[in-house]
Symmetry: D2
Subunit: 142 residues, 4 copies
């Protein structure tokens, strides 16, 4: 079985751009947040809002490694792609890229942590969630 | 001569926080952008706005490595500190941290690139700017 | 001919919401900006990005009257609707509403001004643009 | 006794501005939110964060009337001023203006509502809060 990538397109909007006319880089992280939200809703079949509000769980960011390779301009369509590098006990390493105009604009490794919103402590992935996540796990290289 | 850190305090505001009541992580990057702006204006003595508008130069983000160690809450005062790890021909590796309540909340390495806003290409640091930057360069560990 | 409303749905995302768990009101204006952008692109058939970048024109906000009738929560789908109350020489009065869960959440009158990005002065609507706009003009009451 | 205005200065930052190089108008509302926050903390002597987190109260926006008179550019210092037009049972009409370069850039009337964060219903002003608010009430004209 080939690994699954979750993919979606995001229009680069006027409000994403800075006075230099290109995406203000923190807005890429807002778009990555939308990507994770869309992935939960559409890819994993987990309602992201209920996950927070009813189940009291969240996926705060633990760490980020991100390269901004080329600027994106207003009106461009950014193609976002997400897959999983590694699933830990309560954390998840995502591989995310944004492409437009035939080139990679941004490439990131995001480590999300499953956490209780109440205690703000990490939680082990429930097995049902872990099973869903594994569908997006890239095969180990080597 | 001891290396200089540029430091400033930023109040965690209501609009920085998410439904979990803690800083929404892209807002840390907005605060880092304010920190760089304040550093130019107050630390380096370079008017950040004129640098863009009149000199046509910018410092877009090239890459980021960032760890979010502990959440920050509305009403807390985040103490930001900036120093330079490395000065390249046209890029700059900054070491940035945010502390509050006696603990480090966020720690990042930011690589900024000096670029022409018109051509969007990197520019070598003018010697006057390089001299100013060197005042914030950490001594090489060795 | 019945007047046309331009309509689109916007998911209330995690990043739109504040620590109270509801839309942080400035985010409604970001969504209204997306609505106007979508209206140009899809409704009027005018590429909003080219309109700015190539034609050097913009539609800055002149004034706003807005009522926030009921809060919107993360995960809700906000149905936005836009029509025109009045077309002046170089300004445009839009009627915008956002509905969800069978109730109106936000209702606004937005006055946009056609302006040159270079001179920052208002411009009279070109006749081709005016003709397109008239398709969204509500009939005068009375 | 002369009416008191609460005043503060806000630097127009790079991240407030859009590709046209001027303040993206929803950012004015973010700045107004900071103004209200500063007013609570410094003017009224009420810790805005504790007001939310510990007292479970908020001041959501009920309605806005706002005119954008002239654009503000990156690097400008915006002088914000706040006073009260009217104090109702559970709502408050604020008069807010932003000035720079000797001219008014933005002028707004903001109606805030005192609300319980839990029930999301309006609350009558406690007498202690009402007394503090009255120090910023403009004398009735006429």
């Amino acid at each position: 079985m080939t690994p699954i990538h979750f993919e979606c397109d995001k229009l680069i909007r006027f409000h994403h751009c800075d006075p230099a006319g290109i995406v203000f880089y923190p807005q890429y992280f807002v778009l990555f947040n939308e990507l994770v939200e869309d992935w939960f809703n559409q890819g994993l079949g987990i309602d992201f809002a209920r996950f927070h509000v009813e189940q009291g769980m969240g996926v705060p960011m633990g760490s980020i490694v991100c390269r901004f390779l080329s600027p994106s301009k207003v009106g461009e369509m950014l193609h976002l792609s997400l897959s999983i590098n590694r699933i830990g006990k309560s954390s998840l390493e995502l591989n995310v890229s944004g492409k437009a105009g035939g080139e990679t604009r941004v490439q990131a490794t995001l480590t999300l942590v499953l956490a209780s919103l109440e205690t703000r402590r990490s939680l082990p992935f429930p097995s049902e969630l872990r099973n869903k996540l594994e569908g997006y796990l890239l095969p180990a290289s080597g």
